[in-house]
C-alpha cells in the first residue's frame, strides 16, 4: 500500500471519527432537557428553534464529513489500482 493511499485512508478514518464525535456531543441531546415542561416562554421557543436548526446543521456537517471520507477512500483505492 502506498504512502499516499495510506494517508488518504487515515484522513478518512479521522473524518469519520470526527463525524461520530459531533453527533455524540451533548448539544445533540440538549433538546430533551429543554421541552415545554422545563420552560414555556417566547424566548424558550426561540432557543429551541435555534437549537433545532443548529442540530440539523451538525447532522449535515457529520454527513458531509462521511461523504468526504468516502471520497478519500475511493481516491485511495484509485491510487492503489494505478500502482
Amino acid at each position: 500500500m502506498s504512502t499516499d493511499a495510506h494517508h488518504l485512508r487515515d484522513r478518512a478514518r479521522a473524518l469519520r471519527a470526527l463525524a461520530t464525535e459531533i453527533e455524540r456531543t451533548p448539544a445533540m441531546s440538549l433538546d430533551r432537557h429543554a421541552g415545554p415542561d422545563t420552560w414555556r416562554t417566547p424566548r424558550a421557543d426561540l432557543c429551541r428553534a435555534v437549537l433545532r436548526t443548529g442540530q440539523h446543521q451538525l447532522h449535515r456537517a457529520a454527513d458531509e464529513l462521511r461523504w468526504v471520507a468516502h471520497r478519500l477512500e475511493l481516491e485511495a483505492a484509485s491510487v492503489e489500482a494505478v500502482r
Binding site: H33, C47, R48, T53
Partner: protein, 592 residues
C-alpha cells in the same frame, strides 16, 4: 388557548448544567484536516449560539421568580432580563441573523416563528444600527434575510403561522429598508420594484414603515409598481392592492410626494385613468398633489402643469381622479377666478391660464390650463357623480367663505367710511369672484344634470369652514396601513354634512356667513362715525351698546380672518346688535 408562560426551576437548573456541558464539549471538537473546516464552523456556530443565546436566557430565567411553573403571574423572563449594552445587541443580532438565515429550514414552520422573533429583536434596533447591519450582513446574507421575510409572510398567508406575527415581521424589515433608504434611496426603490412580483410582502413592509421612509423611496417605488401594472392588463390583484397601499402611503406623506408622483407622465396617466386602483386612494393622491401641493409657492407652477393634463383628460378620468380633482379646486379658484368673466369670449376658445409668481426669481409665468371650452367640459365631467360634485361644491363654499372673511377684514383694516353703500360695494367686490365661479359651474353642470349635491355641499363648505378638508383628513390618519382611507374620511365628512341639512332648507344657506359679513359692513359705519348715527336714525341706541360693539369689533380685528373664531365672533357681534330694534331695522334695510 396557548399554554401559560412559566418554567420549572429544578429542570431549568438541570438544563443550565447540560448546556454548560454541551458548550464545554463543543469547545474540544478539533481537527486539522482542511476538509473538516466546514464542519468545525458549524460546531463553532452552535457553540456560539449556546453561549450567546441559551446561557443568557437560562441565567435570566433562573434569576426571575415571576414565572415559576404553576405561578399565575403574567409576563415573561425576557422582559425581566437585563438589557445588554447596545453594541452587544447589534453584534448578537447580526450574528444571530447570519446563523438563522443560513440555517433556514423551509420544512420547519417553528423555525419561521423563531426567525420572526429574531426580526422582532432587530426591529428594536435604532436606525443607525440597522444601517450598519445592512453593511455587516453583505449581499448574500441580506438576500437570505429578505427571503426569510418572504417565507414567513407566505406561511402566515397560508395559515401555517400565526397572523399576529405579520406586523412584527413587516415592522422589522420595513425599518431595515427604511434605515438603508436614508442614504441609498435609489438602491432600495430598485430592490423593491425588482422583487415586487416575487416578494410583494417587501412592499407591505415598506408601507408599514411609510412614515419613516423618505419620499424619494416611496415615490419611485410606487411609480415602478404602477409601471408594472400598466404594462400588464392581467396584473395580479395582489400587486394592485400593494399599489393602492403605496398610493395611500404617498397620500399620507407630504403633498409634495403626491405631486412628484403625478409629475411623471406615464404614472399620471395610469393614476388618472386606470380603473383598477382604489377610488378614494386615487382621490387622496390627486387632491393632495394638485391641490395642497400647489399651496407651496415653488410648487404652484408644477401643479398647474399637472392640472392642465387633468383638464385635457377630463373624459377619461376615473371616479377617484374626478373626486380628487374636484377637491383640489379649492386651491385653484383664487388663481383663476378673475379670468372667469372672460369665459364666453371667442366662443370658449380663449385660453384659461394660471398666472404663477416666483418671488425668488422675480418672474411671472403663465401656465395654460386649456381653453374655456375644455374647462367647461372638465367641470361637466366633475359633476357627473355625486361624490365629485359634492367635493366641487365644498370647494366653492369654502372659497366663498374665505372671500367673505377677507372682505370683512378689509373693511375693518381701512377704518371704513361714513357710507353704507361704500362698505356694501367693498363686500360685493370681494364676493364677485365666487359668484363667477358658481355661475361657471352651474353653466357647465346644467348640461350634465341638476346640481343638488353641488349646491348642498357648497352650503356645507361655507358653514363648516371646510377649507383644506383633505389636509384635515390626512392629519386625522397618522399611520401607514390605513392611509388608503384618507380620502374617504374627507368625502364622508362632506357627504354626511350635506345629508344633515334639513331638506327644506334653502340651498343658499351658505349665505349665512355672507349675511353676517354684510351686516358687519353696514354696522361699521355708525360704529366709527357718530354723525352717521343721526343720519341713519340711530340716536336712541344706548351708548353701552355702542361701546360693547366697538369692543367686539376691536377683538375681531385681532383674530385671523380665516379662522373659525373670526366667524363665531362676527356672528355674535351681529346678534348683539340685532337686539336693538333700531339697529335691527338698519340691518334689514342695509343687509344683503
Amino acid at each position: 388557548m396557548s399554554d401559560p408562560l412559566g418554567y420549572d426551576p429544578d429542570r431549568v437548573q438541570m438544563l443550565h448544567r447540560h448546556t454548560v456541558e454541551a458548550v464545554g464539549h463543543l469547545a474540544t471538537v478539533r481537527s486539522a484536516d482542511p476538509d473538516a473546516a466546514a464542519a468545525l464552523r458549524a460546531v463553532r456556530l452552535v457553540r456560539h449560539e449556546l453561549e450567546r443565546v441559551w446561557l443568557p436566557a437560562i441565567t435570566a430565567l433562573m434569576a426571575c421568580t415571576a414565572l415559576t411553573m404553576g405561578f399565575s403571574g403574567a409576563g415573561e423572563a425576557l422582559a425581566a432580563a437585563p438589557r445588554p449594552p447596545s453594541t452587544d445587541r447589534i453584534d448578537r443580532s447580526s450574528y444571530a441573523l447570519h446563523d438563522a438565515v443560513g440555517l433556514l429550514d423551509p420544512d420547519a414552520p417553528e423555525a419561521w416563528a423563531a426567525h420572526v422573533a429574531l426580526l422582532r429583536e432587530i426591529a428594536a434596533l435604532p436606525y443607525v444600527s440597522l444601517a450598519r447591519l445592512w453593511d455587516d450582513l453583505g449581499d448574500d446574507a441580506r438576500a437570505r434575510l429578505l427571503f426569510v421575510h418572504g417565507t414567513a409572510l407566505r406561511a402566515i398567508e397560508s395559515g401555517q403561522l400565526d397572523d399576529g406575527l405579520r406586523d412584527d415581521a413587516n415592522a422589522a424589515i420595513g425599518r431595515f429598508l427604511a434605515a438603508r433608504a436614508r442614504h441609498h434611496p435609489t438602491e432600495v426603490a430598485q430592490l423593491l420594484v425588482a422583487s415586487a412580483v416575487a416578494n410583494p410582502w417587501l412592499l407591505d413592509a415598506l408601507v408599514a414603515q411609510a412614515r419613516h421612509t423618505p419620499s424619494d423611496v416611496l415615490v419611485p417605488t410606487t411609480a415602478g409598481v404602477i409601471g408594472l401594472i400598466a404594462a400588464d392588463r392581467h396584473a395580479p390583484e395582489a400587486l394592485v392592492d400593494r399599489a393602492d397601499a403605496l398610493l395611500g402611503a404617498i397620500a399620507a406623506a407630504t403633498p409634495r410626494a403626491s405631486l412628484d408622483l403625478l409629475r411623471d407622465d406615464d404614472v399620471r396617466r395610469s393614476v388618472l385613468t386606470d380603473g383598477r386602483f382604489d377610488t378614494e386612494t386615487v382621490a387622496a393622491v390627486v387632491a393632495r398633489g394638485i391641490g395642497e401641493a400647489a399651496d407651496i409657492p415653488l410648487r404652484l407652477e408644477q401643479a398647474a402643469h399637472v392640472l392642465a393634463d387633468v383638464i385635457e383628460r377630463a373624459g377619461d378620468l376615473t371616479a377617484g381622479a374626478r373626486l380628487g380633482a374636484a377637491s383640489s379646486m379649492v386651491t385653484w379658484w383664487p388663481v383663476i377666478d378673475v379670468l372667469l368673466s372672460f369665459r364666453h369670449d371667442d366662443g370658449g376658445r380663449t385660453l384659461l391660464t394660471a398666472v404663477v409668481f416666483d418671488d425668488r426669481l422675480d418672474r411671472e409665468t403663465s401656465v395654460p390650463l386649456g381653453t374655456f371650452a375644455a374647462f367647461d367640459r372638465y367641470l361637466a365631467e366633475l359633476v357627473r357623480d355625486d361624490a365629485a360634485q359634492a367635493a366641487l361644491g365644498a370647494s366653492v363654499g369654502a372659497y366663498t367663505s374665505q372671500q367673505v372673511r377677507l372682505g370683512a377684514d378689509r373693511l375693518i383694516d381701512v377704518a371704513g367710511r361714513a357710507d353704507v353703500e361704500w362698505n356694501r360695494e367693498t363686500m360685493a367686490t370681494a364676493l364677485a369672484d365666487p359668484h363667477d365661479v358658481v355661475a361657471t359651474v352651474r353653466e357647465a353642470g346644467a348640461r350634465a344634470h341638476d346640481l343638488e349635491a353641488f349646491e348642498r355641499a357648497r352650503a356645507v363648505g361655507a358653514i363648516t369652514d371646510a377649507v383644506g378638508w383633505a389636509t384635515m383628513a390626512a392629519g386625522f390618519v397618522p399611520g401607514g396601513h390605513v392611509v388608503g382611507r384618507v380620502a374617504s374620511i374627507g368625502t364622508r365628512v362632506l357627504r354626511e354634512g350635506a345629508a344633515r341639512l334639513p331638506a327644506g332648507r334653502p340651498v343658499s344657506g351658505h349665505e349665512t356667513g355672507m349675511s353676517s359679513a354684510m351686516a358687519l359692513a353696514v354696522l361699521l359705519v355708525p360704529l366709527r362715525d357718530r354723525r352717521a348715527r343721526r343720519r341713519l336714525g340711530l340716536d336712541d341706541v344706548p351708548d353701552e351698546l355702542w361701546h360693547d360693539l366697538q369692543r367686539r369689533t376691536g377683538e375681531l380685528a385681532d383674530l385671523d380672518p380665516l379662522s373659525p373664531e373670526h366667524a363665531t365672533a362676527r356672528n355674535a357681534l351681529v346678534r348683539t346688535a340685532s337686539r336693538d330694534q333700531a339697529l335691527a331695522d338698519l340691518l334689514r334695510r342695509g343687509g344683503p
